[in-house]
Each structure stands twice: as structure tokens, then as C-alpha cells.
């Protein structure tokens, strides 16, 4: 026991000494501690941080982690404190909210030469506010539709593998119905499995707003309902009036409601691991699911591009890195955030988790994304990717619209739900 205690003491001392040794080796200036708030298992990762520390030996890190579900609340509380963290790893679509509230420091002046040409346009749009860039971005995600090949083969279904051949939603519904096993509404194998995000219930803006957006047209007259349907909010983020309850949106949502009710091919509540346990033919998820299946192929699987009505669209976005405006070390914090997002360090961070990079120049370094099935994500990102409606009120929009879409999935009236949502978002924007 005594030996175990001594070993633990020695181990603890060694662990705490690692950053100190790096710091003591060549530190000739005042030591700086950068405090980082992130979600568990998220970047910046130790390898990239240690590599950066070699160039900045006076800097040490203090990392605090909170679950993703509590991240927004924690940032809301800590950002207002007298001593906020220096670095925030937060949900990217909240960039404009945080920028407007004065939480984030603009990093435009710290961005390296060539960043503008290399960054994905959707990422830049999401992370910018009033002409300034507030986050360089590290990784990017989007969703595609996975399928259980054994189940689709058994049903005689061959899902498309390229964007050109992507299904429309009515075609996808036929596939769901053909593949589903058991009574509609309570089958043993679902046509379309539940999401793994949130509490597993449908309606999330990230995943489900694309139903109605894809029934719009980005090239239509800006005054037309088709144009407004596609954007889901005025492109300048000023209003949602007439953007959510258009005839096209209602038509798409009526189809969406049928998936969970009349057709009974999708569950209304979460079923943990349904797709991976062979309880769902199709399943919508990010590249993270593909990365997990590549490492441990528990089922035979494939990926098909997201179905659509008229205009293919997928949402982009991920967690991202930013610097707090009231950081006590803004210069070094901004340098750290930008360095973590550029070049080799960006590659080290992105490759750890298996999502997509935000820099086009890094795509070639991820062989897994060069070929089917994971190539579908890259193709979608480049051809169909759109940020969720960027706005300083995105957090409020996200919650209100998610509740509205969820109520439709539970059988509510699409028009009433979207009219209420417009009214509630307008109320939030009033302030």
C-alpha cells in the first residue's frame, strides 16, 4: 500500500512537472497561463499543445471541461465574470451571438497570409460578424445518410453514392418503407433511425431544418417565398418574418410530419445506438459515425448523400475555438487560437477526432475522405454546405425553431408551429 502511495505521488509529481519542465527549459520572459474552457474529448489536443509550447516555453495551460449540454450555460456565466477563461471552445453557430455580446475578441489581424483563400466559405460566414473574423475554425462537420447494407440489400435497395444521383425525399421515403421491418410506428427495424444528438428526439435545426430549406431555391427572386424558404432567415440576419412559414416550408414539413406519424418510419424518441445495433436501415449523422465504423465495423454500412426536395442543402458547423475579449493575455491567446487552426497543428487537431478540416489545403492529407464512402461528406460540404442561419440571435433561433419542428414531428400543425416560431424569434430579436 505504502509503495502504491509513493508511486502515485511520484507519478502525480511527474505529470504536473511536464509543462513546468517545458517552461523552465528556455523561458526567459514572464510565465503565462492560458485558461481553456472546452468540452470533454475536444481540441486543442495535447500533442498540438505540446508542439506549440516548444515555441512558447513560457506558456502553460489550465484546461477546464464541461459536457456539451452545459457548455452554453457555462460560457454565459463565466464570460460575464471578472476573470473569464482565455480560450473558449464553443459551438460555432454561436459566434455572432458571442461577438455581439462582446465576449469574443476579433482575430482578423492575427490570421496568417492565405487564410482567406484556404478557408471553407461556409466556415468563414459562420465565424464572421460585421466584417471581423472571430474564430479561425479548426474542424468542420456536416451530415449525410448512413445505411445498413445488409438490411438494404435484403430489401433490394441500392442507395445512391454520388451527389448527382442523390435521392429526393419522396424516393428516400419509399426506401425507408421498403426496408423497415414490422408494424409502422412500432417496428422491430426502423426505416430511418433517431438522431444521437440532444435527447434523441427529432427537430434539431442542424439536422432537420434542411427538410424545408431544401424545398426552397437560393437562386429565386429574393422577394419570393422559394428564396426565403431556402435561407430560413434574412441573409443579413435582420428578420425571420416570411422566412419560416412559407408555402414551400409548410409543404416540406407536412412531408416531414408524415415520416413520424402517418408513415411511421421514424421514431419520435431516441433509441440509443439503434443504427449500430441493426435496429435502423438508415441514419443521419456526421463523419464521427463513419470514423467509429471504420475503426470498429460492427455492421456492413454505406453512405448516401442527404435527400432533398428541390435544392440540395446540408448544414455545416462544429465546435470552434475563440479568444475571450476580456482575456488577461489577449495577444498570446489569439496567437495560440490561430496557430491551433493553421498548418501542421490544425492537422494534428483535426486528425485526432476524425471530422473534416476547415482548410481546403488539408483535405488531401486525409486519405479516408478521398474515396467512397467518406468522400460523400467532402463533396456535400463543398457543393451543398450552408451554415445554419448566421445571426447574433442564433441561440434563440435554434431553440425556438427546434421546438417548432419537434412539435411538427409529434403531430402538430406545421403552419401554426412556424407562425409561432416567427413570432417568438421576432420577440427575441427585439432586444
Amino acid at each position: 500500500m505504502k509503495r502504491l502511495f509513493l508511486a502515485a505521488m511520484a507519478g502525480g509529481a511527474a505529470m504536473s512537472a511536464v509543462p513546468a519542465l517545458a517552461q523552465d527549459a528556455a523561458c526567459t520572459a514572464d510565465p503565462v497561463t492560458l485558461r481553456i474552457l472546452r468540452t470533454p474529448g475536444n481540441y486543442p489536443y495535447p500533442a498540438a499543445m505540446e508542439a506549440w509550447q516548444k515555441e512558447h516555453p513560457c506558456v502553460t495551460f489550465e484546461v477546464n471541461e464541461v459536457p456539451f449540454a452545459q457548455l452554453g450555460d457555462t460560457i454565459a456565466v463565466q464570460a460575464a465574470s471578472d476573470d473569464p477563461p482565455d480560450i473558449l471552445v464553443y459551438d460555432g453557430p454561436n459566434t455572432q451571438s458571442y461577438a455581439k455580446a462582446g465576449i469574443l475578441l476579433p482575430v482578423t489581424d492575427y490570421l496568417p497570409e492565405g487564410w482567406d483563400d484556404d478557408i471553407l466559405p461556409a466556415t468563414k460566414a459562420e465565424h464572421s460578424y460585421e466584417g471581423e473574423v472571430y474564430s479561425p475554425g479548426i474542424e468542420q462537420t456536416t451530415v449525410a445518410m448512413y445505411y445498413n447494407k445488409s438490411l438494404t440489400d435484403a430489401a433490394g435497395i441500392t442507395p445512391p453514392q454520388t451527389l448527382d444521383e442523390a435521392w429526393t425525399w419522396p424516393e428516400a421515403l419509399e426506401a425507408f418503407k421498403a426496408c423497415q421491418q414490422g408494424e409502422a410506428g412500432a417496428p422491430s427495424v426502423w426505416g430511418l433511425g433517431p438522431t444521437r444528438f440532444g435527447n434523441g428526439q427529432p427537430g434539431l435545426v442542424y439536422q432537420d431544418l434542411i427538410y424545408q430549406r431544401s424545398n426552397g431555391d437560393p437562386e429565386a427572386d429574393p422577394e419570393s417565398s422559394a428564396y426565403k424558404t431556402f435561407w430560413g432567415m434574412a441573409p443579413d440576419g435582420s428578420t425571420v418574418e416570411g422566412y419560416l412559414d412559407t408555402p414551400e416550408a409548410i409543404e416540406a414539413l407536412t412531408f416531414y410530419r408524415a415520416l413520424f406519424n402517418e408513415e411511421g418510419v421514424a421514431p419520435k424518441v431516441g433509441i440509443p445506438n439503434a443504427f449500430f445495433d441493426g435496429k435502423a436501415c438508415f441514419y443521419i449523422d456526421t463523419p464521427a459515425a463513419g470514423s467509429a465504423l471504420l475503426k470498429e465495423p460492427v455492421i456492413e454500412w454505406g453512405i448516401t448523400p442527404m435527400p432533398y426536395f428541390k435544392s440540395p442543402v446540408v448544414h455545416t458547423g462544429s465546435t470552434t475555438i475563440g479568444v475571450t475579449a476580456r482575456s488577461k493575455n489577449p495577444e498570446i491567446a489569439a496567437l495560440f487560437a490561430v496557430d491551433m487552426s493553421w498548418g501542421e497543428l490544425a492537422y494534428m487537431n483535426v486528425s485526432q477526432r476524425g471530422n473534416l478540416p476547415t482548410l481546403k489545403s488539408l483535405f488531401d492529407r486525409f486519405p479516408v475522405y478521398q474515396d467512397y464512402p467518406m468522400k460523400v461528406f467532402v463533396d456535400q460540404l463543398e457543393s451543398w454546405g450552408q451554415p445554419r442561419p448566421p445571426s447574433p440571435y442564433f441561440a434563440q433561433y435554434d431553440r425556438i425553431v427546434t421546438d417548432a419542428i419537434r412539435s411538427v414531428a409529434f403531430g402538430g400543425d406545421p403552419e401554426e408551429a412556424m407562425q409561432n416560431a416567427e413570432r417568438e424569434v421576432a420577440r427575441a430579436m427585439r432586444r
Partner: protein, 311 residues
């Protein structure tokens, strides 16, 4: 006025005698012992209450509290202008009513059982107390599985009986009732223990005298036990009402306030307004109104259910 009450108030009528040094020292000692608690109460209870009252007249977000601005009664006007506060309060009152209507009679019946000489009292006592001491998260997760619209245990039984499956938590007509039933299931044990304490304090002589005079068991229960338990009943009703009006976990863990805001209980609505919608001023105004409502309801209940008998 009882004899004890008269004794308690009598000294106040006479001139208060000079306090001795011993009494003054005792008072100082009492304050010294109470000071830490009073300080904590002041810092963590009354100071936040005062800040909440002040914030109810401000417009600000938690992300940027420095930019708060005074808006007068705007937050209270919004409560009248928009439907959310009304709908949330209505859902909360209905929730509280259902919980109290289930918990009070059921808790009383269970307490009668536990107070009797019937067998298996120990087992029943353990069974009814288990939900009370179980974490709200565990209870919510368990009921989520039970009430699953497709594969839940309850729907399994319903379909075995040849009846149509019920949506439960995904139906705006059923979700509130379901979380009320779940909360009542969790709280009934606590009510039963409180009633049991009251029952054990009722003098047995009264029931025995009534029985000798020819009263039936039912007459003893209705005319002696129930009236003498009025103080306990008042306490349980007030406690259960306040618990229910302050309920947060069912909406947070099971329904997210939906579907269609049907389970958007007021405390959850306050949380959502402050932390998600970043409208902390409005959330403070809602809290002030809730505080006044809870206070008013408690006072009303205490007046309506005031004890008419003492023993």
C-alpha cells in the same frame, strides 16, 4: 384561545421586568450561534431575492450584463402581451393540482395502512419510500423508457390488451398528465410518512371512547381522525403545492417543456428564458411573479385549511 395560548400571551400584558445580565448574555450567545446561519441566509437567500427584484426592471443578457438597461415595467407588460407566461403558469397550476389531488388521498391511505397492524408494513414502507430517495434523473430516465411511444413497457401492455398505442410524452394532451403522475408517484411516499407522523400523534383514547359509544371504524376515521389531522393535512398540502409549483426536473429531463409548450413548467421556463433565450430581465420578472403566487397560494391554503381542533 387555548389555555396554553393564554399563558403565552399573558406576560406581554404586564410590564416587562428588567432584563438581567444573565438574560442579556444568553441573548448574545443565541445571536452568536444563529449568526452564521443568518449570514448565509442573508447572502444566499435574501440578497439574491433583492437582486432578482431589481433585475426584473432591467433588460439584459447573461452574456453581457454590463449592458443592462432600465426598462421599467416592460418585462411585466410582456407577460401580458405574450402568451408564454400565461401558458406556462396554467401548465404549472394544472400540474400542481393533479399532483396534490393524487398525492394527498393516496398518501393518507398509505399512512393508514402503515399505521395499522396489517402484515408486510415494513416492505410497503420501503417500497413507497424508495422513489422519494431515488435521484430525479434516474426516475425520469426510467419513466421515459416506460412511456416510450413505440417500445415502452406501458404501451406493450396496452397493445397486449388490443388497445391502440398511446403517444404519452409526445402528445400535447397527455404529456402534462404523465409527468404529473410520475411526480405524484415519486412524492407519495413523502406525504405518507408525514401523514403517518400525524396519525401516530392522535390520542388513541378519543377513538377508543368513540368506539365504546358505538361509532363504526368509518365514523371514527371521518369524524375524529381526519379532523384531528387537519394540521398535518395543511402542512402536506402546502409542501406538495410548493414542491409542484417549483418543479423543474420533469420538464428539463423528460420533455424539454414540449410538446407545444404543454409541459413548460414555470421554473423551467424561467431557466430557459435566462440561459437559452438570454433574456434574464424577463426571467427575473417571471420569478418575482412566481414568488408572489407561491406566497399567495400558501397563505390561502393556510387560511382555508386552518385547524379548528386541538388536542
Amino acid at each position: 384561545m387555548t389555555a396554553i395560548d393564554r399563558q403565552m400571551t399573558a406576560p406581554n400584558l404586564a410590564r416587562r421586568p428588567d432584563r438581567t445580565a444573565r438574560q442579556r448574555r444568553d441573548t448574545r450567545t443565541a445571536f452568536a450561534f444563529l449568526a452564521p446561519f443568518l449570514l448565509l441566509l442573508l447572502v444566499f437567500q435574501y440578497l439574491p431575492l433583492a437582486m432578482m427584484a431589481k433585475n426584473a426592471f432591467m433588460d439584459y443578457s447573461l452574456l453581457n450584463p454590463g449592458a443592462a438597461k432600465f426598462v421599467g415595467l416592460l418585462n411585466f407588460e410582456d407577460m401580458l402581451h405574450f402568451d408564454d407566461a400565461r401558458e406556462s403558469l396554467a401548465a404549472t397550476f394544472l400540474f400542481a393540482l393533479v399532483v396534490v389531488l393524487i398525492v394527498i388521498p393516496l398518501g393518507f391511505v398509505l399512512a393508514l395502512f402503515l399505521n395499522s397492524n396489517l402484515p408486510a408494513r415494513g416492505v410497503v414502507r420501503t417500497i413507497i419510500m424508495l422513489p422519494v430517495v431515488t435521484s430525479a434523473v434516474v426516475v425520469a430516465t426510467m419513466w421515459n423508457f416506460l412511456l416510450d411511444p413505440s417500445n415502452g413497457l406501458i404501451n406493450g401492455v396496452i397493445s397486449l390488451l388490443g388497445l391502440p398505442r398511446q403517444p404519452f410524452l409526445t402528445s400535447p394532451n397527455q404529456a402534462l398528465i404523465m409527468i404529473s403522475v410520475m411526480t405524484a408517484w415519486q412524492q407519495v411516499g413523502f406525504a405518507a410518512i408525514l401523514f403517518l407522523g400525524g396519525l401516530q400523534g392522535v390520542p388513541k383514547e378519543l377513538a377508543e371512547a368513540a368506539r365504546i359509544d358505538g361509532a363504526t371504524r368509518w365514523q371514527v376515521l371521518w369524524n375524529i381522525t381526519v379532523p384531528l389531522l387537519s394540521r398535518t393535512t395543511l402542512f402536506v398540502v402546502v409542501i406538495m403545492t410548493v414542491f409542484s409549483l417549483q418543479a423543474f426536473a420533469p420538464a428539463f429531463l423528460m420533455t424539454d417543456g414540449g410538446p407545444q409548450d404543454s409541459t413548460n413548467l414555470i421554473v423551467y421556463h424561467v431557466y430557459k428564458m435566462a440561459f437559452v433565450m438570454q433574456n434574464a430581465g424577463y426571467a427575473s420578472a417571471l420569478s418575482v411573479v412566481l414568488l408572489l403566487i407561491v406566497l399567495g397560494i400558501s397563505l390561502l391554503q393556510m387560511w382555508l385549511l386552518r385547524a379548528k381542533w386541538n388536542y
